[in-house]
Symmetry: D2
Subunit: 394 residues, 4 copies
């Protein structure tokens, strides 16, 4: 019962934050800013919010930034900020997918830390270029906002699996169902729908890339398993839609566990129903993003328990990223903020030349980014081969 | 608010019932008797309860039957009862799977109606033999107890799809998860576990045959769709178990709809979690066997509704098989009894030379039996071919 | 996994059952018959179904009874059946409330066992007359169908309290909410609504008598507490309605526990939402009639558990009245049948001169009947005195 | 789908915020700061965080404030800040209850806006002194953080009642159940427990003041009704505890509606289970704080609907205070932040000499504060009079 997560206390350093993308009208940029603000560990000081200097300055003005720190391109921003005495410590990249890697490279090369929206990129080759650049800059922190791993009960679930409470894992059943693309919304001019259904901006995947990767990432995060191969069947149910709006995938993990993954944007009655269930030799777990403060735990042969965020049975890993007492729900933004605050800890530790708080090391990085891209490629390949099994290891 | 289902009222004829199997200690035989008794449309008058006359008479005595009507074999029973003036009208076959068809043939040939436990049989060829026999006896009623189709809200769901409330169906997500075979229960001497995991008694399928067929049957029943092909991945997670205890299946239906099916007996925390979700262009439905009095209906773009058995939004098809007012739950036995009472109506109509109540024609019969057997065969074949797509149409 | 409750096995004696009331169109009579039939421990052989011999014979014919055993009055039936060699063992009284006691007296005096619908009667004085008659006939069994005490998880809850798992009980929060009298349904000619809102047939209480007594009975049953005094506020919200359609009651129990009770028939969205929550020094329990297969148990300081009927954590007291495996729901009729089957055991034990199965002694009898009547009287008195505390002990 | 609530957009003015209380280790102070920060409408610039200058400066330093703006008392802070050119616009008072009014008076008199934690104060007379001071300063905004009114679906519920969707309201059933004081936690030195159970710091009420007022406030907020009188039964279940840890209250509202209120801190299994149910002639609503993104709406005679935050059926009043898309849950902090951001709008409007956004006027103020204090006094009086009805109107 702390009013602020204990994670926030490891360091009080406040980081100077820049942003690429997230100009007026963008949804996810505002989420990132709010997440950065929640624990007061960042100050937004610069941005390349849009593709022109004029628009960028307009967005920056709304956010209270001086004109001089509002740039017309990420390249300009990287160059200029790197030279400033009090330039940005870290940049948040919140553009459409195809910009992620080229933008990240500009900052990584200059030793500026990066927080990047998911998916990492649209192609594995490009992703590996970034991985190589990061390998050469071991002091640069790279965080990928697979934000659902920030939910306290997701981390609780992961810890319970790691602690062996479920025994050896046999099954991972993951799904992410939405209904907002049930009709051809992209024709209405709705911006979110437009770019997500456009191969030029989203790459070769629709539902798989947008939400399937979240489900896959979460299944792997909680179970601790590595995906080995998969068989997929993609469909575009809405007439005239090019990218998949539904994905059925069978999964095989290293070590013999198996699973299924369903991602759909055409399932009426589902808003953001991301559900992961994991079953082992000794017990099962179930977690749903729409009711994130609960974790159902069924030790085999005993009555199932409801573990609540911060309540009895909820351990220190979850407690570390909990702000308010049990029974007072936290949500999507708090989970997102946990990623940001953990990133702040990783970056602060680098700056201060110390080891970071161990809990902060749970945030997803380049490895998870590559896994997500590989997952997408494998799904597309398998579906093209009529569901043949395809290797999915990075 | 009727106290007895209106279905029971179409006719008051009480049928003379015989039973094959269901001797002392058998679970499903007792369920069948209770289901038969619920609406008072049957009187149990004869049985071949066990494989020896002695055991059969002992079981019969416990049930209050005279020795003369307790037989040592189904063949003897069929012969003798067919000759009696007041012999049985109908027989319930509740033996292990491999006995279903040979027993049924004995009665069908003699014009005695049959109510048979599922699955129909362990091989498609044998199933077709029975289908042929039935084709030659158009006045004999054959009912297969895919009992979940007897739940009022399952029929409500089916009707809503048929009425077009969901638009064209795109997706059928079906699952049946249990946990009772998480450990090697069959080694403990538990009878239910022993025969279900034994290929000699269960055929080549474990979880798929026992519960996967229920999920498939229900998905098809509600959606009104015909399965076209499938790709499957079977696993025996428990060491030393021969038959599958987990099945992952991807589905394709005629007309373009798709789906997934998951059947598992090793998922801790799941008792009989049979869930079917159906999504169409205009809405979605979700039903769970463990909470069967509820049906969630989400018309696209409107708030989801909770339709309760007998409550507002629950129509006459469900009302016909409802016994008590909304808010007073009905369960598994009532659903099972609905199959029996509908069978009584079909049989009574034959005897009385009239058309049956239309609602009664919803009960599963030989076609559903063949579909189930074909489904099992296709799943096994696909899994052996490492998940290749296999035709599943009968 | 038994297919029939183990309670049914104590004795195989089949009892000859008569019925008073329950003629054509009556709801509760059909429920009683179905409940009696479920475990095959009764055979309906006689009845005084209606107030005239003609109507009674018509109803009897529909039920397959011979004319000679269909009577025009309960008095005639009692006299005649008592003299028959194979007359009824037991009578079920399912008339409107004011007939219960006079009818029961006729049978009790002749040594015929009685199963009586609740509430016992409309006035405490009359109830005590029956209690006196029963005291003189110690070999006559009298069972009152407070049917909700037949639910397995209700008995499980009671046992857990008795076993001390909750520590000393502090709080009993009981409610029974319906919505079917939200409008003036009684003016439409609906029969159920008409007699329940008519003081001549229902006595001085509406919602309190019809459903409030159930909530009170259940709260006392589970907690094991005796009501000491109460303060009540009755309301007739629907214009022109004479009897209460809503009751607010504060409760005080012997020993210091307290509680609240809410009974309403004008709460839209509630069907038969009977919920009892009990809290003690060491834990809490919650049970809801609409989802009766679940019992929520929260030991203080530990994660709450979900105990399912027949599942882990569900003990022998519940198991004894369970018919099908966990995850296969049972409902209202099974709970009602448990009362009937327990009554059969009590009666059989009397006939056979042995002690009954202990589990069967849980069924409500004359004491619970008197408590219910006293509760109603106290509520009315308190409400008339503007909510003053009124003694509620019998 | 906005990423930030539209309420935040009415004005971009950033307010200078001071804080009284909320020093190191205080829970609610940190919540206020986080809520203030969420929409970036406040900058914390000064504080009297503790009762000594030294402690106050230590707390301030942790929050990044200069020493000069950290004061040893609220009186000093009010004097000094009022004289500064860029002194605070608004002060947040987050002290124990008995300090609220004296502190508020210092700021109100100097024209500084006040955001005050609930309850307003421990005595009605003192509350009226503040009301009088505010009446003389019509340009000073006073907001009381009955934070649950900031939840989007609470406002949605209120609007639906106001729009007549429930018809005339008959019933308000409110409860707030916790379990954290099941044992004598205050003896362990737990700070939150200590002051809440101490009459010197909390006044004459325990559970009633701490959580009962929230339930009452919310019931009145949603229903739009004014409490007229009440009858109460207070209990201190834990031995040695002076203040009530459980309250049972019957309610009567102006216009004939009735209700019940239960507040308890000794109900194991309940964390912060604040539930309000409202029933009218045409429908019912139910909302629970632990699952705040859902609102159950049951129009009489139609299937109940589940309205989700931002989903279909959720209107502009809720949308205005919604930050993320439906299916992405918001929680306690977002609801609290909505109060802060609305307060910012009210204050900005005063400063800018314009009418505020109408939505912002929903925040609770002095009237709700007086109602809460009166409610507590009436409960105590009624309980002392053994549950006699006591007037509760301010």
């Amino acid at each position: 019962m702390v009013g602020e997560s204990s994670q926030a206390k490891a360091s009080r350093r406040k980081l100077r934050l820049g942003m690429v993308g997230g100009g007026q009208g963008a949804f996810i940029g505002a989420v990132h800013r709010l997440a950065a603000r929640m624990d007061d560990r960042y100050e937004l000081v610069a941005g390349a919010f849009s593709s022109t200097a004029e628009k960028s300055k307009a967005s920056g003005a709304e956010l209270g930034l001086p004109e001089a720190r509002c740039y017309g391109s990420y390249a300009e921003m990287a160059q200029r900020e790197a030279r400033l005495k009090e330039g940005i410590d870290v940049v948040a990249i919140v553009t459409p997918n195809h910009v992620h890697v080229p933008a990240a490279l500009e900052f990584v090369r200059r030793g500026i830390h990066v927080i990047c929206d998911k998916p990492l990129t649209v192609g594995l080759r490009e992703g590996k270029r970034l991985a190589d650049a990061l390998a050469k800059q071991p002091d640069v922190v790279f965080v990928l906002t697979h934000n659902y791993t920030g939910y306290p009960m997701v981390r609780q679930a992961r810890q319970m699996v790691a602690d062996g409470l479920l025994g050896k894992i046999r099954l991972v059943q993951a799904e992410y169902a939405q209904d907002w693309l049930t009709t051809k919304l992209e024709d209405s001019g709705q911006k979110q729908a437009a770019w997500r259904t456009d191969p030029k901006q989203s790459g070769p995947v629709g539902a798989v890339g947008d939400i399937g990767t979240h489900a896959m990432n979460l299944g792997a995060f909680i179970s601790g398993l590595t995906l080995s191969e998969l068989a997929a069947d993609l469909t575009s149910f809405v007439e005239g839609r090019v990218l998949d709006d539904n994905a059925h995938v069978m999964l095989r993990f290293e070590g013999g566990a198996k699973g299924m993954l369903w991602a759909s944007q055409v399932a009426p009655g589902n808003e953001n129903r991301l559900v992961v269930r994991v079953y082992g030799e000794k017990g099962g777990l179930s977690w749903s993003q729409e009711d994130p403060n609960y974790l159902q735990f069924a030790p085999y042969g005993e009555p199932p328990r409801l573990i609540t965020r911060g309540g009895a049975g909820s351990g220190p890993v979850a407690g570390r990223v909990t702000r308010v007492p049990p029974g007072h729900p936290e949500g999507y933004l708090e989970g997102f903020a946990n990623i940001y605050t953990d990133a702040a800890e990783l970056i602060s530790a680098k700056i201060e030349g110390r080891a970071p708080d161990e809990g902060a090391t749970l945030v997803p990085g380049i490895r998870q980014g590559l896994e997500g891209v590989k997952f997408c490629e494998a799904v597309v390949e398998s579906s093209r081969k009529n569901g043949a099994w395809v290797k999915a290891a990075v």
